[in-house]
């Protein structure tokens, strides 16, 4: 009997090679005609698919709301990509800003890849995971996240990755 996905949740794997592989994929997408925004959307879709499967085996809470959203996001990053992140909320613009100085999916700037960050995948994954957790919840205090952008990234040559989400209360 092979190891199950449920069991895999309790282990850590080394990411170095797979991180590099994301950038080979981006090169492959670009050379086969995908434009900048298409590439980002495909990466976010990968993240959403990861979230859909991951949610079947792990979720940190039963509901995500405005009170716990920062902690939930920090927990997700810690558990899934082993990153300690800072999560800020900008209530005037309904934005959530995640800062990760040791992003698991970005590390180096590749001139031939250009301004693409592997953590676009996380943008899709985190928003989808929160959506799945809150799916079915009737509480008006629940929160939904929409990926906005990776505003800074180690892959762009910055010092940290900054992922920006827009949030709305009670669903969209």
């Amino acid at each position: 009997m092979n190891i199950t996905r449920k069991e895999l949740v309790d282990y850590d794997a080394t990411m170095n090679q797979s991180r590099n592989m994301i950038y080979h994929l981006i090169r492959f997408m670009k050379v086969n005609g995908l434009e900048g925004n298409d590439v980002k959307q495909r990466l976010r879709l990968m993240g959403r698919n990861i979230a859909k499967s991951f949610h079947n085996y792990w979720k940190p809470v039963d509901q995500v709301n405005i009170v716990n959203v920062r902690d939930v996001i920090a927990t997700m990053y810690k558990k899934i990509v082993n990153s300690s992140v800072s999560v800020e909320m900008d209530e005037s613009q309904n934005l959530i800003v995640v800062r990760d100085s040791k992003c698991a999916l970005c590390k180096y700037f590749y001139e031939d890849v250009g301004k693409f960050a592997g953590c676009e995948i996380l943008l899709g994954m985190v928003s989808e995971l929160i959506s799945l957790i809150n799916n079915g919840s009737v509480s008006g205090s629940k929160i939904l996240l929409i990926p906005q952008e990776v505003s800074e990234s180690l892959s762009y040559g910055d010092n940290a990755c900054i992922q920006v989400f827009k949030y709305s209360r009670g669903g969209m």
Partner: protein, 490 residues
């Protein structure tokens, strides 16, 4: 898993970036699916995926080439380290597995078949709606879900062989896949001559696939590798590559004496007793020279010590640490152990040096040896930049002074971070001290068994896991250190 495989696994694990294994597996799946989204052809997708695995791993190896220099440099030995690579990549032991050697007639080298019962890559594949890549559509000869992994492992293995200037290469391909319906993962490892390998890999990826997609050419293995910038590691790996360490452990005292005698004859063109005769009646200085040379030889590899001591603060810190060790050495090293080392020195000189000199050394004590070695080491450290005369009575006075000068940051977060890490640092120091103490008991075992079975027996006996010997305790302590380091990194 042998001692060095275990150590390598620990080192590689600490210095790698980890994520959750399920995330890793799902990301791996998604990359393959995205390739397929473009090719629309399962066989081509797997072929391209394997190539991406190869290129990714090679890129990683190139960045961390120094660490691979300590790996053994021949194909069979590398396969012995396969378990290490597996454990590092997946964060779990390889579990139930078997090796099979297959000798094919007409084939120059043995082929190895590795069967692994559990494969995290395809663990639970098919359970989720998003598992849309159809492995069962793959043709019989195409690899399965571990193609990317096979590419990575092949790349790492060949990178090691290349930097070790070995004339062989290995191919690692998946021959049975759980996701394709097999009952276990099977990897086939074949060994090739370099020329044969180059011919085999000359076919471009673009020519291996049928779909009309574009693929960027690889930079090519040969031009991809750069020499390590760290001369120190380059030189060190000549001495302590893992397989050589194993050889050293097998060597009894008489063998080492014979080697030294050969070196003196070969390099200095004189008999060993003539060489040692120069030190007759200057035995004190000879022992000082051991400490002096020890520091300078360490520094010889890349001038690392000298570079580190250029920083005044660091030089002071090392100075205090050195003085502390010197003052406290006899508190944590039992005098019997020191005397055992003294006896070891006498045994070492006996036969190499003139009898009168051996007698003079015999009249000294182990304690004298220790102080003289420290004196020699202190002289070397002074040469390299530590001004011992400037050091305060103890390190706390130095810290107090710097606080008054405002040299230590008063940033609250820095202080908090330091306070948080301090107990962990203390734990590391404590574990290191305990390790040193335990290693220092080695000569007792060496001397007792040397007269009967030689060093090899001793080393083997302390390595024995059932006896809970030195190795087990040593491993536990290193385990603790790695755990704390990993906690600190997180």
């Amino acid at each position: 898993m042998g001692a060095f495989q275990w150590l390598m696994k620990k080192v590689m694990k600490v210095f790698s970036r980890t994520t959750n294994s399920l995330f890793y597996t799902l990301l791996y799946r998604e990359i393959l699916k995205e390739i397929h989204e473009i090719t629309k052809n399962e066989d081509d997708s797997v072929t391209i995926f394997r190539e991406f695995g190869k290129r990714s791993a090679y890129e990683s190896c190139e960045r961390h080439s120094s660490i691979f220099k300590f790996m053994p440099g021949n194909p069979e030995k590398i396969l012995e380290y396969f378990e290490v690579l597996w454990a590092v990549v997946f964060g779990m032991e390889m579990g139930e597995h078997s090796y099979e050697e297959i000798k094919v007639e007409g084939q120059k080298y043995t082929e190895y078949l590795l069967t692994i019962a559990n494969n995290p890559i395809c663990g639970g594949y098919g359970d989720d709606e998003e598992d849309t890549f159809k492995f069962k559509k793959l043709s019989k000869d195409t690899e399965g879900c571990s193609a990317g992994l096979g590419g990575m492992l092949e790349s790492v293995a060949n990178f090691i062989l290349k930097i070790k200037e070995n004339e062989f290469r290995i191919s690692i391909t998946e021959t049975k896949c759980l996701a394709k319906g097999a009952d276990a993962l099977e990897l086939s490892c074949k060994i090739y001559d370099l020329a044969e390998w180059q011919e085999l890999t000359a076919v471009k990826l673009q020519d291996k696939i049928t779909s009309k997609v574009h693929i960027l050419d690889s930079k090519g293995e040969e031009e991809f590798v750069q020499d390590s910038k760290l001369d120190f590691l380059d030189k060190l790996q000549d001495v302590i590559s893992l397989d050589k360490l194993e050889e050293i452990l097998d060597e009894p005292l008489e063998g080492i004496k014979k080697r030294l005698a050969d070196v003196i004859r070969d390099k200095l063109n004189m008999e060993p007793d003539h060489f040692f005769d120069y030190f007759r009646n200057y035995e004190d200085d000879m022992i000082r020279i051991i400490g002096f040379l020890f520091i300078h030889v360490l520094n010889e590899y890349g001038g690392v010590i000298e570079k580190l001591l250029k920083s005044e603060t660091f030089a002071k810190a090392v100075g205090y640490l050195f003085r502390q060790i010197k003052d406290m050495a006899l508190l944590f090293i039992p005098i019997d152990v020191v005397n055992d080392y003294h006896q070891l020195l006498i045994n070492f000189l006996d036969g190499l040096a003139p009898p009168e000199m051996v007698e003079n050394v015999r009249n000294m004590s182990g304690k004298d040896d220790l102080y003289l070695i420290f004196e020699g080491a202190q002289m070397a450290l002074e040469n390299l930049g530590i001004n011992f005369s400037e050091l305060k009575e103890n390190v706390w006075e130095e810290l107090k002074k710097e606080r008054e000068d405002g040299l230590i940051s008063s940033d609250a977060s820095m202080v908090e971070e330091t306070q948080e890490k301090f107990p962990k640092i203390l734990r590391i120091v404590q574990e290191l001290l305990m390790m040193i103490s335990e290693v220092l008991t080695l000569p007792i075992r060496v001397l007792i068994s040397e007269s009967h079975y030689g060093i090899k027996t001793t080393v083997n006996s302390v390595i024995s896991e059932e006896e809970g010997g030195l190795f087990v305790r040593f491993r536990d302590r290193i385990d603790n250190i790695f755990d704390v380091v990993q906690e600190m990194r997180e």
